[in-house]
Point group: C2
Chain length 211, copies 2
DNA sequence: AACTGTGAAGTTTTTCACAGCC
DNA sequence: GGCTGTGAAAAACTTCACAGTT
C-alpha cells in the first residue's frame, strides 16, 4: 500500500514507527492477533489519536470496529521503514563498547546484521570477538565499497569520531549511529543519530528532588 | 541565577541542555573562552535563535555584543541540570552490555558515578569486573535504600525489565535509564528514558535509497 | 458497541526580526 | 558591527470529536 508515502511525512512521525513496531512484536509474542490504537497507546504512553494519525500517513492499515491485525501492521511498518530486509552494518571501534555492540544478539531479528568490526589499534587487529576478527581501519574503505555497506555504528573515542565518520562517508556509508559523545558533521545526504547515555541521565536529573 | 526556573520549562528544552553542555565542554577543551549562539548552533545543527530562547528560560547568561562566557555558561547549565554534583548510579544486569556500561569511563566527569553492579545469575555473582564485584539482586533493595541511590541503569533481558524496574522503584529509585528494548511502566513520579540502538537504525533506514 | 481515519481546533515549538547593549 | 533577549508571527504537532464502517 504505502498509499500516501510520496508526501512528506514529518520526521517525528518516522521516529515513532520503530516504537510501534517494537510494541507490536511484543504483542505478537503474547499470542495476540489484533490490537487497537488505544491498547498500543496505553503500552507506549502515547495518545490513541496520535497513533491513528501517524499510521494514517501511510494508508489505512486498520479496520473500523475491530482495530489493527498485528501481523499485517508489522509487515506494513517494516515495509515503510525498509526493515523487511537485512542491512549489513559495520562497527568501528573494538573497545568495551564496540565489543558489547558486536556481541549483542538483538540486531538480527530487527533488520540488521553486523558484518565487520574494525579498529585502529595494532593490538586489537586480528583479535577474535565471537564470530568476528577485528579488521584494520586501513581496510575500511575497500570493505565497505566492495560489500555495498550503507550503515555504520561508531564506537571510537570522541577525538577520532569525526575523522572516522569522514572515512565512512567517503566509503559510501549513508547512515551512522554515533556512540561517541560528540557532535559530528556529515553531508546532509547522510543520516546521523546519536546515542549518549549521559545526555539522558542529565535530562532526568533536572527533575530529581535533591542530591 | 536560575531566574525564571520556577515557571514550567518545556521538557523538549530540558532535553537540549545536555547537548549544549556537551558542546560547551568541547569548546572549552579547545581552549576557547567565549562563544555565541551562532557558533554553538553551527556545531549542533540547531538554529541560533533556538539556543538563545532556550537559554533565556533560565535568565540572561550572555552579553550583548560579545556572546557567552563558556566557563560561566557551563556552570549555569550544570546548576540547572543538577549535575554540579556526583550522582550515584546502579547498573542492573552483568551481561555484555551491563559490563560495558560499568567499564565506561565517560560518566565520571559528567556527574555520575557507578556505585554497584547487580545480576541475578549465581554464575555472575561475585565476579570481579574492574573495580566492581557483581552483587546479587537480592541485595538490591537494601543497598539502594541504605545508600540513598536515586538513579539506575537497566541492562537486563527484555523479559525481566519490568520486574526489575518495579523492584528499583520500590527501593526508592527516581530515574531509570532502560537499555532493554521494551516499554516499561513506572509511576509518573519516576523518570524513565530509553536507549535502543535498533530504533535509531530503523529510523534511519526509512531514508535510505535501496537495499 | 467498538473502533478507525480525518478535518478542524487547539497547543506547542520554532523562527523572525528588531530594540537594546557592548 | 556583532551579539543577546524577546515579543510577535509562523510553522509544526497533537488532540478533539465525529462521520463512517464493521
Amino acid at each position: 500500500m504505502l498509499a500516501k508515502s510520496s508526501e512528506n511525512i514529518p520526521d517525528i512521525v518516522i521516529g515513532r514507527l520503530p516504537l510501534y513496531l517494537r510494541a507490536l512484536r511484543r504483542l505478537q509474542q503474547e499470542e495476540k492477533d489484533v490490537t487497537s490504537s488505544h491498547e498500543l497507546g496505553k503500552r507506549l504512553d502515547i495518545s490513541s489519536a496520535q497513533i491513528r494519525k501517524d499510521l494514517s500517513h501511510f494508508g489505512g492499515f486498520g479496520k473500523q470496529g475491530t482495530g489493527y491485525r498485528i501481523e499485517y501492521l508489522i509487515e506494513k511498518l517494516q515495509d515503510v521503514l525498509q526493515v523487511n530486509q537485512e542491512w549489513m552494518v559495520v562497527v568501528v571501534g573494538a573497545g568495551n563498547l564496540g565489543i558489547a555492540i558486536s556481541r549483542y544478539r538483538g540486531f538480527q531479528d530487527r533488520g540488521f546484521r553486523i558484518a565487520h568490526l574494525f579498529d585502529v589499534s595494532p593490538q586489537k587487529i586480528g583479535l577474535a570477538i565471537d564470530e568476528f576478527v577485528v579488521k584494520p581501519i586501513a581496510d575500511l574503505n575497500k570493505t565497505i565499497r566492495d560489500e555495498g555497506i550503507k550503515i555504520a555504528m561508531l564506537a571510537v573515542p570522541a577525538e577520532h569520531a569525526q575523522s572516522v565518520a569522514d572515512q565512512l562517508v567517503d566509503a559510501g556509508v549513508q547512515a551512522i549511529l554515533n556512540y561517541a559523545p560528540i557532535n559530528i558533521t556529515v553531508p546532509s545526504s547522510v543520516q546521523i543519530q546519536y546515542i549518549d547515555p549521559v545526555t539522558h541521565l542529565q535530562h532526568m536529573t533536572y527533575y530529581l528532588n535533591e542530591g
